[in-house]
Symmetry: C2
Subunit: 224 residues, 2 copies
């Protein structure tokens, strides 16, 4: 049994990378941050991962107390993987990385890669993390592919959640790829509406406020 590779540094970052730094591990965490998932959900949403590695990773992360396994109520042999509280504490780090990585997405990536609505939801959350809070009290709803999520702005705080908004000032309909392209600032929300790539129910002012909340009115970072 070969010994696991370690860094041998008494440092929080090195420690973190020994646990979640291997290939695919962060993406597995991402999937479980979206919600509990079965083995086959993970293989479906992580195209290219081999079952062998996925099993390795799940075993290791379980041993480390980062994920836990539940039985599926109705299914005797079904297992449901979920993050433990310890695992859920990776969310800020994952958001930070995802936000940073979005500026590397290109139009060619969009063409060659698969897109999922849930990844757009992740992007939305990372944008709220650093966005400018607004002095309004309203909600926005997003219908991306077959999933629905929303942003609620109350008391100067914006929060994202799955599911529909209560009385949305704005409802956006989009496919996953377009939604992520907007988050990556490859296309502006207004441009997407005009060209018909997304459909918006609500007035232009609401679109403007939502755009500002998410920092989408700021230019993309210039290349270094």
């Amino acid at each position: 049994m070969p010994e696991k590779r370690q860094y041998g540094q008494f440092c929080g970052l090195a420690s973190a990378m020994e646990i979640v730094g291997e290939r695919w591990t962060m993406l597995i965490i991402r999937e479980l941050l979206i919600g509990p998932a079965r083995f086959s959900d993970l293989t479906d949403n992580l195209p290219g991962v081999s079952p062998n590695m996925l099993a390795d990773r799940l075993r290791f992360l379980t041993d480390q107390g980062i994920i836990a396994v539940d039985r599926v109520p109705g299914d005797a042999r079904g297992k449901l993987y979920r993050l433990t509280p310890l695992g859920a504490e990776l969310r800020p780090a994952v958001h930070g990385l995802a936000r940073w990585g979005m500026s590397f997405l290109t139009d060619e990536d969009a063409a060659r890669s698969t897109s999922r609505a849930a990844w757009g939801f992740l992007a939305l959350q990372t944008m709220i993390d650093v966005g400018t809070p607004l002095a309004v009290d309203e909600e926005y709803e997003f219908r991306v592919a077959d999933e629905v999520f929303s942003i609620a702005v109350h008391d100067g705080k914006a929060t994202a959640q799955r599911g529909p908004a209560h009385q949305p000032a704005l409802v956006i309909h989009a496919d996953a790829e377009t939604f992520i392209r907007i988050g990556a600032k490859l296309i502006s929300p207004f441009e997407a509406v005009i060209t018909g790539r997304i459909k918006a129910e609500g007035d232009l002012d609401a679109i403007q406020r939502c755009t500002q909340l998410l920092g989408l009115d700021q230019p993309r970072r210039a290349a270094a």
Copy 2:
């Protein structure tokens, strides 16, 4: 020339992991977040890294616009690697990971691993990120191994910087390992003072306030 491994997902996190997700890359970023460094500085502070991999990583990160190379003023053949603004934007993500990873550090790690004062400085910064701001106006100074850094609390905001404090309410002397052990909550600041592992100049109240600022009065996260 083999094609680089990619995830093929149109997602910010996948994109980030394709760029900084390989082994050692994050630790190289960490070193450059501490400050610009030469090739040999990096090999010294990343024990176990092979020169060919370090050269590979530096080349790739340079191509991606994450690091840049300067000439050392006095040395014709010396090169100084530094982060670009794009690379420096990784700081929040690195802090998030480092903070999370600190709770995995153990006493056995401390014994087997190398410690550096700069990693303690990193830990300090991550603790400020989430600490409770205090309604005081004072500064704390830390002399760890042969390095000096400090925290300034003004207007309800705490900031960390290299170098000494102006009129420190507290000066802490410690070795790197002990300092990181305190950050990892393997030992409390008070316990460290009492057992003589660190030396504190300042009154107990100042220690108390600093401890609270850094969240060191909170218990370590329980195992999941």
